[in-house]
Subunit: 212 residues, 2 copies
């Protein structure tokens, strides 16, 4: 059975995983400190950067393993709100989005599909978490589905009990405000086995696996 997996979701000590307002200049909405430790070069493998193979990088490299599609919230794709403007926006990632798979962007507003030569295709879909997950699984064709965030999207799927695995990183900073992953959730730990290890830089990696 394919899994639904969350990877590299950075959370401050006070529970925030994104800033309050995403703008063109602030893709993380002012919570950029969450990424201070993060080496995104190794999401496709520790060999993708000429860097020491640290615990951080080893765990970051799980991101792409056996994943055939991603689901993301609209805010992860772009800063626009409401109807999509005709502004030529193709995501934050330029000509080489790192996904290399179908990516389902959850939005109530229709938008034509965007395809990139590297295998990334953004498909804009409206529907419940269950419905969108069904589409993503179908597109993945066997491999797992990654739930790419942001935190509100992950929270929706958690509340619908659709998440099989999460790699969360608790970053030793406080933000004071932002979008909380935990808002309105309760006793999530009852549904998961949780392993927790701390890297020398103070980042705590948590591996949440759904209990069987």
């Amino acid at each position: 059975m394919p899994r639904t997996r969350v990877h590299n979701l950075n959370i401050s000590l006070d529970g925030y995983a994104a800033g309050e307002q995403v703008t063109l200049d602030a893709p993380i909405g002012g919570a950029e400190g969450l990424f201070g430790w993060f080496d995104g070069r190794v999401i496709h493998g520790v060999d993708k950067a000429d860097a020491p193979i640290t615990l951080d990088r080893a765990l970051i490299s799980l991101w792409g393993q056996g994943v055939g599609a991603e689901i993301m919230g609209r805010r992860k794709f772009g800063p626009q709100v409401g109807e999509w403007p005709d502004d030529g926006w193709r995501g934050w990632w330029g000509d080489e989005p790192p996904f290399h798979t179908p990516v389902f962007v959850m939005t109530h507003h229709p938008h034509p599909q965007i395809d990139f030569p590297n295998g990334t295709s953004f498909r804009f879909v409206d529907g419940s978490p269950q419905e969108v997950l069904r589409l993503a699984r179908e597109a993945a064709g066997g491999p797992d589905v990654r739930l790419g965030g942001g935190p509100s999207t992950v929270r929706q799927f958690l509340q619908a009990d659709l998440v099989d695995f999460m790699h969360l990183t608790v970053v030793p900073i406080t933000l004071g405000r932002g979008v909380s992953l935990w808002d309105g959730t309760r006793d999530l730990q009852d549904r998961f086995s949780i392993e927790s290890v701390t890297a020398p830089n103070g980042v705590t990696h948590q591996l949440w696996n759904r209990k069987v």
Copy 2:
């Protein structure tokens, strides 16, 4: 610059990484306890087993990332000693050796190359660690070279200062005898940065990266 990497080298609390005598019935030479924790299914990725994604499995999955060739000692390939007998031996792994790359088997005795349809080819070479590493790098053609063990082979390369990375796992067992990784080495830690984390099962993962 391609790295020379050691992965998943299991070591007992008393420093042994293999038993004393490898036989057909005892590939690890009586030190099978070293592998009690080890889930080899995930060496090519955590998605290769329908299992929780634990710290152990995440780190085991580094094994295949960006590796283009392996070097192994003769004892890892088979239990024979001296001249190679004409016994049809093709390694411990049956028709599907997990390597999928050229594998250089270090031996003083000549042996014809053995090729498998899955990309594994065993090539038998005599030479110093430097010479064998040069051949393996050439065959890898860019990606890293994995130094596959056993412990005596890894020790040779350590003594020649040819190792860039090691993922060692200290397994909470004592063996009393066997082949020690550390025999005759000294102050190895001076040449490496070392991170160490312990999984809930008591296995300590150490990531050794050559200091730059």
